[in-house]
Symmetry: C2
Subunit: 450 residues, 2 copies
């Protein structure tokens, strides 16, 4: 479909592009803009979108495309688009724009929207307040069901979701919710106050947006009311925004766990410089730590000169330690993120990892022992070397799995993101441990040769 | 709240438990069962749930708790619970149960449900069919809006979501959708056929459930119709199930990327044995690969004996290579999973990584060069050693970043999960490369000393 539109566009068959747009979803139309890079074509393409869909397509566009379009549209066109957008998309857009574009947007916003946007921009980026929209249906509890339907009919068309209506007191305090299904099934003369569900699940404007997103999957919700400090209803959050937050938080965890600062945009739109900047800090910290680990080897120069074979086991010990730790830490960080593991489970978790470490460690050691004894059977010390390697391996796996579960939990306890003590940092720590253990066991078992 | 119920239960204050349940959400009641381990208390607690909520609480329980309850309930009680469950939860439950429990469930199911479950169990686990529910509202296009409301009123109470109604032909082919909002805003005498949206977005029963879940976040949907090969409507998928799929797929990627086979249940409920089993395969493969890397060092024994200092740089080179690769591969795997990167972008992606590698590699090398020259300034060869390490580092970062972006894309091209060529495997490959590069440069620059 996208390719078809692009080729129609190239051949300047504009009426056909327009016709194709009629049968396409707004999200798909927005995707076409990713393939267009010059401002002129972008604008031409945007003007071919049916008027009724333009605002919605615009909401789906990436910030850089939105900016290009805002800069090119006339004031009248811009006003039309802005008026058609949902407030939460509007706020998202304004947050991404540079100051001069924001100015142009604000100039073309209705004074009501201007006021609302200013208010919304004051919520911290990670708060529930920054996610919400104020476009919802609210009802008084003294209304009848029949009157409620009239309210929905009159205001519904502008609302992001009308299927849950919020019942508020004259002071705008949230008193209850009623679903459209309940309204449909109720006697039209009943009062809203009699059929509403009281004390509904709600969140506060300053709640963390990740926690809010998790509530959607915990309670299977499609919308959630947001109240301020005085328990007054100020907005709602819809499930589509919650899904976006979940995906963003997952991406952030993936990035942190690979030793990177989280990035804002998508990979292809992030500049080389930003990518490098996000990566260099952890690489540098970890490199310096690994230098220190390396320096440990200097103290064992005598051992290495006496038995050069020992050096050949270092990569295997380091990698296995790193991998064992990465497995444990990933399971724990994920478990904490999904609330499947809580801090009070720390002993259970550690005991589990100890037993896993024992099982895995013994199996890996056995394979190593056999391979060393077989490969170096001509060496009179082969059994002692094999024993050194195998014992180090068990110790390394034990240390890696223990730290792998304890460090993320400690980090959570200290109110840090558990994902920062993931594989990269753990590898560096277990590397140092395994080298120390290895040479100390070697000196114990093979000391007479050194 | 959970602690309060548990202490009330311990003091046998059952009427108060019952009263507390009345004000709790079903998902929260279900959480209490995680804290109870014996079957008798589980059953007692379950019987205290208000009758109207019991089926829904049951749907939220973990499979092992469900099984314990099914085994303990009387036939009458079981039948009551099963009748109250949504079909998709019902199917999920049956999929998790051992054969003897399934038999008991089937015996107590209505014949209609039995038939449907058998049909649903035939869909592959990863297909859209396995996610769907058949509880939705369908309308004929000849109905008026007024008549449509009667249909919704009569059937709506059993439906998981009534806010999108599906319009089907007499052969059950999907012809359009109409939202309750559209019905509310329409003239009551209009025909459904005139107000419905034709050719709605839909999926096929055999579509991959991950793709289906992504459609929800792409199009901001709350429900999606599912059709069979003949384009007949057979069910719908709701957004709550799509969110669960997204989270499961993310967890699976986290596990694969840390070198583990994906696990089925939550961490705390997975046995030590299963955890060990999921981890050992990759640990073993990677260990054997690292052994081979280690063996490479044997060929450089002369170099190591001549300049033992060289060994101390190995941990730093290995770790930095591993970390650089992990960063690239994580960004690419995540980008592929979110459809932000496509296979056709392979050259753009690689070129980006090359430039990042150059920036990062030069910075890291510079730091290394300075530290070696300063730390070992008394060694007459310190500049040449520093140069060896720095050049190796640049090469390692380049190799790691290149493979880190190319391997996941190659893996996708071969229809494998890109997440399997993540950090652990990449570390092993770059380790071998960096050791080869390091000693070859060393022999070139410092050969006269060996």
């Amino acid at each position: 479909m996208i390719d078809r539109v692009l080729s129609l566009l190239e051949e300047k068959r504009y009426p056909e592009v327009k016709k194709t747009f009629l049968s396409m979803h707004e999200a798909d139309i927005a995707e076409i803009f990713d393939e267009v890079s010059d401002s002129e074509t972008t604008l031409r393409l945007f003007r071919l979108i049916p008027k009724d869909n333009a605002a919605e397509v615009f909401s789906y566009l990436d910030a850089d495309v939105q900016q290009r379009i805002i800069e090119a549209l006339t004031d009248t066109e811009l006003k039309y688009i802005l008026d058609g957008m949902y407030l939460d998309d509007y706020v998202d857009m304004v947050e991404e724009m540079p100051a001069n574009v924001v100015q142009r947007v604000m100039k073309n916003s209705s004074s009501k929207n201007r006021g609302l946007i200013n208010q919304y921009l004051n919520y911290p980026e990670d708060s529930a307040g920054s996610l919400m929209t104020c476009e919802y249906v609210y009802l008084k509890k003294t209304l009848t069901v029949r009157e409620a339907f009239t309210v929905i009919r009159n205001t519904g068309i502008d609302k992001e979701t009308v299927y849950t209506c919020y019942v508020t007191s004259p002071e705008r305090k949230l008193e209850g919710v009623v679903s459209v299904l309940e309204l449909l099934l109720a006697d039209p003369d009943k009062r809203i106050g009699d059929i509403m569900t009281t004390s509904p699940i709600c969140v506060h404007t300053m709640d963390d947006k990740e926690d809010v997103a998790k509530m959607f999957s915990h309670y299977d919700l499609i919308a959630l009311p947001v109240v301020d400090k005085e328990e007054r209803l100020v907005g709602i959050i819809t499930v589509d925004d919650a899904v976006d937050v979940l995906q963003e938080e997952n991406t952030e965890d993936f990035e942190l766990m690979a030793g990177m600062s989280p990035s804002e945009g998508t990979y292809l739109k992030t500049s080389v410089w930003s990518l490098a900047k996000n990566r260099i800090l952890w690489l540098m910290i970890l490199m310096v730590s690994a230098m220190i680990t390396g320096s440990l080897l200097e103290s064992y120069e005598a051992a290495i000169s006496a038995i050069p074979l020992l050096v050949t086991f270092i990569p295997m010990l380091m990698d296995t330690g790193g991998n064992s730790g990465a497995q444990a830490t990933t399971m724990i960080i994920r478990g904490l993120a999904l609330d499947e593991i809580e801090l009070k489970d720390v002993f259970r978790v550690w005991w589990k990892e100890v037993r896993v470490a024992a099982t895995v460690g013994v199996a890996l050691s056995a394979v190593n022992f056999l391979r060393i004894v077989i490969q170096y059977h001509s060496d009179p010390n082969c059994v002692r070397i094999a024993l050194t390697v195998s014992l180090t391996l068990i110790a390394t796996v034990f240390i890696a799995k223990s730290l792998g579960c304890l460090l993320p939990m400690l980090s959570k306890k200290l109110h840090l993101d558990p994902a920062v003590v993931a594989a990269p940092m753990l590898t560096t720590i277990t590397d140092a441990c395994s080298i120390l253990v290895f040479f100390n066991i070697a000196i114990g078992l093979l000391g007479q040769l050194m």
